[in-house]
């Protein structure tokens, strides 16, 4: 039998997963899976920006934070201000206001990132700045966004209005917060939407062409400025949705909420293969499950270390990631 190097990775992962389900705590795996779906919203944006603009966007985590706070403000200030405070829906802790705030936040955040691109990244591109420099600029943007968040909303945790609800109790002592199910499902639908966009939409096809070969897409007549704009719109709106969902599932939001998951989403992207949206999804699921499952034995503070160990293992076995092509 001829097992390719990276197939070992899957073999080990599946054995570890089975062992966890049999001996460990299945709840952790299922919650990790749902968390992975939320991470994937950040990771897909990261990987698309990398694919088209060729730089690692360190501001992705803080964009998620910003999205969370924008949703919070829409719900607690704007909606509450006009008297729109729906009670929690069914088994979930949250109601219609949060559900409606998500698309609004996605819209606002994509406008913000498109403006950031015009103000900062586009200028660097036209000056032919190196991708390293642009990455560092994005780190600056990350810190700037966090500063703005701290200035506007303060350093104390903020809370979405919520009602406490019973966990779903499944066989095998599996306990899942209903929120995570619906949030995971929403994340999956959004990911599916991006997949369909990239596969069938005109601009999705232009995005794939540009990621594949920027010069050829230019000389084929593709308007690369519009491609870049779409890249930011998708990346920003997914980050905003992911940030809101993260805050809802954690029951609170802090200025560091997004920054803390920047490392896991980078790990997801590298695991799946940089520039590959499907890779980002699979990577995020693996990272999400592994981080959650590790808390069966390890202190939760080691979660990022778990993500990084997996990422480094992947880099050693198959540097281009699970879905990366060799070249």
């Amino acid at each position: 039998m001829n097992i390719k190097n990276y197939d070992y990775f899957w073999v080990i992962f599946i054995i570890a997963l089975s062992a966890l389900i049999i001996f460990g705590q299945p709840s952790l795996i299922i919650n990790g899976l749902l968390l992975g779906f939320i991470y994937s919203l950040g990771a897909i944006g990261l990987t698309l920006v990398f694919g088209i603009l060729r730089f690692g966007n360190f501001a992705q985590g803080d964009l998620m934070t910003l999205g969370g706070y924008i949703s919070l403000t829409i719900v607690t200030v704007i909606f509450a201000g006009i008297g729109f405070t729906g009670s929690a829906l069914g088994p979930f802790t949250f109601g219609l206001p949060i559900v409606l705030a998500i698309p609004l936040t996605m819209l606002l955040t994509s406008i913000i990132v498109v403006i950031l691109d015009q103000l900062i990244y586009k200028r660097l591109r036209t000056r032919q700045a190196s991708t390293m420099l642009i990455s560092i600029a994005s780190l600056g943007v990350a810190i700037m966004i966090r500063g703005l968040v701290q200035f506007l909303w303060g350093n104390e945790p903020e809370y979405f209005p919520r009602e406490s609800k019973q966990f779903y109790m499944l066989p095998l002592d599996i306990r899942i917060p209903p929120d995570n199910v619906i949030l995971g499902l929403m994340a999956v639908l959004m990911t599916l939407g991006v997949y369909l966009f990239l596969k069938y939409n005109k601009y999705g096809k232009f995005m794939r062409a540009t990621a594949n070969n920027p010069n050829l897409s230019l000389s084929t007549g593709i308007n690369t400025s519009i491609v870049i704009m779409w890249t930011w719109i998708i990346s920003g709106s997914l980050a905003a949705a992911g940030g809101t969902m993260l805050a809802v599932s954690q029951a609170q939001i802090l200025p560091m909420t997004g920054w803390k998951i920047l490392l896991p989403i980078f790990a997801s992207v590298i695991l799946g293969g940089i520039g590959k949206p499907i890779g980002a999804l699979v990577g995020a699921i693996i990272i999400g499950i592994s981080m959650e499952a590790s808390t069966a034995w390890l202190n939760p503070t080691y979660k990022p270390a778990v993500a990084f160990t997996i990422m480094i293992a992947m880099l050693l076995v198959k540097p281009n990631g699970l879905f990366g092509e060799k070249d």
């Binding site: 096809k205 232009f206 794939r208 050829l216 000389s219 007549g221 092509e325």
Partner: protein, 236 residues
Amino acid sequence: MALLDVQNINAGYGETEILHSVSIQVNEGNLVAIIGPNGSGKSTLLKVIVGLLEAKKGNIEFMADSITNSSPQKIVELGISYVPQAENVFTNMTIKENLEIPSLVLKFNFKKRLEEILELFPILDTKMNTKAGTLSGGQRQTLAFAKALISKPSLMILDEPSAGLSPIMADSTFETIESINKSGVTILIVEQNAKKILSIADRGYVLATGENKIDDTGLNLLTNPDVGMLYLGGSN
């Protein structure tokens, strides 16, 4: 009057000037070849024409309108299709997607044109849903031609289409080029294989160190002893 009129172009990369006052004319319906040693600036000239590289001086006219330093998008819209020397297909996309992209850019009916183009290049028909990256060199070149032709360009610009192909594949590539030209598409082509291309070209330009050296009909260049000495190789 020339379909494409390139007048006294200076261009280069950064501070380095590569092209020094280069001029060429391409008449409608012609097949015009640019030959010359490696590094003489042939590809650079094509990049300037299609808007990928800035002209520092000079003027380029297409159908009597100035297109100097127009965007590549504008050039495509005017009906100029460019096939670069390498990496001329989207390797991660299927053959069908590669052929569809021009129709999305220029908003023409893809289905109808696809049928016509597949009659011309039937070899692509059986592989529509395979990734272009899995094709052999010759098949890739065929796809690149098909991708350039599907938009019914009035001018096709080809950069060394025979490079890297086996002699048999190269011969069939030249046949394809000749038949595309006979079907009414004007062609401007850069080619290393000078003998082959000059024997089918209406006109040829010899470029060396970024300057025009000689220009004449294809047949005259083939028999010109200076050209023979310098660029056609000693033997044969």
